[in-house]
């Protein structure tokens, strides 16, 4: 079965930042619709005012801003423990019946009870099997993701690396 190009996914800020960090966002823009909200773009614009790592990556993401599909949504169902921006994305995913890509563990944990969610590493697997990147490139990209170090990213890194090495 051949899937039509330009399938759509919903992205939050954390996923866009991760995918720009590992230089996959340009490929994603070409192959898929990046759907997000105005609040996500505003978050990135806020980050981009700083000259730190996140600021620089946010600027990189914002270069593709005009290719994003920005949607507004009324919040009908609220997840506790997550930000307003996350609840917008959650409702958008519910309404549009689309997969949400997020590297925000708390958001993913609560949202996964109602919608499909993947970490941004979904696209590492996707681009390996579609032969857009090699396994070696994938491992090197994963190493870059680990540089955004915290204990949760460490588990994503270790689990994904083990799986990649089996491919």
């Amino acid at each position: 079965m051949v899937k039509p190009l330009k399938d759509s996914f919903i992205f939050d800020t954390s996923a866009l930042v991760s995918l720009a960090t590992i230089d996959l966002i340009n490929n994603i823009v070409k192959l898929f619709n990046i759907i997000t909200t105005k609040s996500v773009v505003e978050e990135l614009e806020d980050f981009s005012k700083f000259d730190d790592v996140y600021g620089k990556i946010s600027k990189k993401v914002l270069k593709y801003k005009n290719k994003f599909i920005i949607k507004s949504i009324k919040i009908n169902k609220t997840l506790n423990f997550v930000e307003h921006t996350d609840n917008e994305l959650f409702n958008l995913a519910l309404k549009e019946k689309l997969i949400l890509i997020t590297d925000d563990i708390k958001f993913s944990y609560h949202a996964s009870k109602y919608i499909g969610t993947y970490f941004s590493t979904f696209f590492i697997g996707l681009f390996i099997s579609s032969k857009i990147i090699s396994k070696e490139e994938a491992i090197s990209k994963l190493d870059k993701l680990r540089d955004l170090r915290n204990w949760k990213n460490n588990i994503i890194y270790l689990t994904t690396k083990e799986e990649l090495e089996k491919l």
Binding site: M1, V2, K3, L5, L31, I105, S108, Y109, S112, T117, Y118, F119, S120, T121, F122, F123, I124, G125, L126, F127, I128, S129, S130, K131, I132, R149, N150, W151, K152, N154, I155, I156, L158, T159, T160, E162, E163, L164, L167
Partner: protein
């Protein structure tokens, strides 16, 4: 923010040092200690949980042991991250096979 009283006895010398720091920085002693303590606790927590993650992924500690040590919430969270990571890479790999370049 919800708070709770936590009393500690400090050596006199350390309190004198704290006094000097607060005078030089022109900051409130309690606020300064709270801030530095929060930074240190966050850093240590992250470091220890990274180690715990390494042990778990390498099968050197079980989910049940983590549950006994730190409670159900953290053990569930660790298991969730592991499963979601596996699912993300596997589903992405499968999806990629259906793409026509």
């Amino acid at each position: 923010m919800q708070t709770e009283q936590f009393n500690i006895r400090l050596p006199i010398g350390l309190l004198h040092d704290l006094d000097i720091v607060s005078k030089l920085l022109k900051v409130n002693k309690s606020e300064w200690v709270k801030l530095r303590l929060a930074e240190n606790i966050m850093e240590e927590k992250n470091k220890l949980l990274m180690e715990l993650g390494n042990l778990y992924i390498n099968n050197l500690i079980t989910r049940e042991e983590i549950k006994k040590l730190l409670g159900e919430e953290i053990s569930n969270r660790i298991e969730f991250i592991k499963n979601k990571s596996l699912n993300s890479i596997k589903r992405g790999f499968y999806y990629g096979k259906t793409i026509k370049r």
